[in-house]
Subunit: 191 residues, 5 copies
């Protein structure tokens, strides 16, 4: 067990474990080029998803010999995310991940939609992936449930981003399998 695996929250540890499938690569000492990851989060959110993401990224990277550098900005709310992540991506980041927590009122839903459209636009401008990790305030019944969703979604999408950058075949293996972030996976069926 490496240092990076110690004392991780369960939600993070499970994702790190999932990432550690490529023993052969590690044994063969496969060399990955360093990737820069842009992260934007908000003051508005009611929990620190960035910390969860950072732990997942650092642990999984250490396990897999992936080299990662994180650049981060914090903005007031979700509508301030698009231009912030654009700036980071244009400063040389390879991909991005953003964390937000839209409120539960109709006006919040509209704001969230506007932010998401901006994030789409940024990806098409830069040709780089930005994973959007939004947890809506009404997704959970109370703080405890919300916290669980936030941990799970932040950690799993952090791993998804690493896979997109270093190991896209991991995504392909799970195509059409009902993978979910935030809650347990859905059932899948044969076509």
């Amino acid at each position: 067990m490496s240092d990076s695996e110690k004392n991780l929250p369960e939600a993070v540890q499970k994702n790190v474990n999932k990432a550690v499938g490529k023993k052969a690569d590690r044994k063969n000492g496969k060399n990955f080029q360093e990737k820069k990851i842009a992260v934007v989060d908000t003051m508005f959110a009611r929990g620190d998803m960035f910390r969860v993401a950072k732990e997942t990224i650092e642990s999984a990277s250490a396990e897999n010999n992936w080299k990662v550098k994180i650049l981060r900005r914090t903005v007031p709310g979700v509508k301030d995310i698009p231009v912030a992540i654009l700036n980071l991506l244009e400063q040389g980041c390879d991909a991005g991940i953003v964390f937000g927590m839209p409120g539960s009122q109709p006006v919040d839903k509209t704001c969230s939609h506007e932010a998401s459209l901006g994030i789409q636009q940024v990806q098409l401008m830069t040709r780089k992936t930005v994973l959007e990790v939004f947890v809506h305030e009404d997704e959970g019944a109370d703080a405890q449930e919300l916290a669980e969703i936030m941990r799970n979604r932040a950690s799993k999408h952090s791993l998804n981003l690493l896979w997109l950058l270093f190991s896209p075949e991991e995504l392909e293996k799970r195509a059409g399998s009902g993978e979910r972030q935030g809650r347990g996976n859905a059932s899948s069926f044969e076509l």
Copy 2:
């Protein structure tokens, strides 16, 4: 019967049969230039529509002497599709087809709408067609019905894409005829 026709699921076989109308071309040995098709699918979907598409494309292409190469990426969910298909199209693909399965909650409908707007944008940026094959989780009453819709829609749209690339007159012949993907066709009427 060619090898490629053997053991195909019924939904695929019916579409391959539809495609095999141009005997003259095949007999005359008409030579088609190879086309590269970009495909993006998701881990989120609950069934492997890519496999259905691949079978349809390969069988119909073999029957019609169409030369096709498939490039594929798998992403977490529908909102990650636009930038992924943009990347493939800009790497030289001639057209694209994307598979997704938006959930049934209002937030999923919004995500699906955002993804679709991104896919529209990608087409206008690249001047290339991307067929969007989305099956909404609430389109079917149960897994069996969903699977049927997914097979049917994935297969029929795969054939549509081939027609757009190799035989646009097949689309023109069916203009205003109530063609549907996912279910049976609608009735049409004289104007």
Copy 3:
């Protein structure tokens, strides 16, 4: 009566008659430059609006000495229209007209909205007008009513397009007059 006026459906004939107001121009042998019109329609629609448009365009052009060339593509559904009409416009067409028939489900309304936004975008990219002739499946109570709306709207908008290209003063004359396509005109009032 010219050949082109013979045996036209009533809906088309009425529009052709409306177009034939500029006898002076015709007598004076005014020479119009040929305009290329891009047309995109769908397999999804339940009636052939292109045929109605073609008849209107050809008859009205013959009457008015307008020179028109039609380029046409057929695509699966309305969301495939924007990139198709963009391609035609960039191949040298002067303006476009597109025909679609969005279904009656909420998801169809969303698709229609996405298509319309794409069509807006195409016009701003090319600086060329594209008239959008969409008949929603729930606009009519039955096939007969739908067919009537489709004929009327397709024919009237075809004439509108010709006016935009050859005779913009016809539009100006009717400014603020409650002109409708698909049904009878609305009443207008003095300001």
Copy 4:
């Protein structure tokens, strides 16, 4: 009383009077550069808002020594406005104003939204202001009320446009004051 003030409808006259505050400028013979104003209106609207706008613009300009030239296009409906106003702005107009009357059905609301998004886009492409004067068919209970809203909104926004072009301090003076177009102003309060 100048010629231009004679026989104007009350709604227009009131706005012209509002504009005539800058006696000093006129006395000092301040010279304004000619500005070209792009106007697009529709056949669909049920009243001629362009005429109201023209009267307001001409009267207020005459009073204030503002030099204005109007370029105008009429299009079928609101969705045809964006590309038309773009064309006029790119032909050298300094700003634009557009008049439309969206219907009362849900599909009309969607069309209006699409038109508005296009008009936003045009402004960002050209860096020029386009005031959108839309009167929704369901804003008034009957033709008389609608006509009143249309006159009021068309006239007041025409004056707003002149202020933006020739006298931006007039807008600044009224910042946060509850100014409305179409109806009476709202109350304002101290912050």
Copy 5:
């Protein structure tokens, strides 16, 4: 106590106090480069949020040795904001803040959404942040409550903008902490 702190409304003073945490920087005489802030507000709003913002910006800047220049435009309503703020940003402003008050009718919500999408677009075009300070007319039960929200939101977002320009670590410190503008902060929880 500096001059700039005297006689400020409570809402502004509280934010100025929050900003005054960096005594060390001030003592060390840290030199900040002058930043130009673009501000756009509307006649439509029922209170003068610009004044609140100006007071906050000037007081907090004086306290912190931040050098700020404000450029301002007033427009009729929220839909006129995007092009106005774009113009100011392209004239050399470093960031922007905009104030608006969408009405309570459905059509107002749509207008607000269109304005917000335009503001998103402007940020992506210029790569510069624009904080959107919209207070919806139905957020408060009466004028008094509305005024309180407007003061609070205008002042807090003005401080946010200063932090983004001069002291981004202040935002980072509050990441995921439930910061709100307009009302009291939300509770936050451990992840």
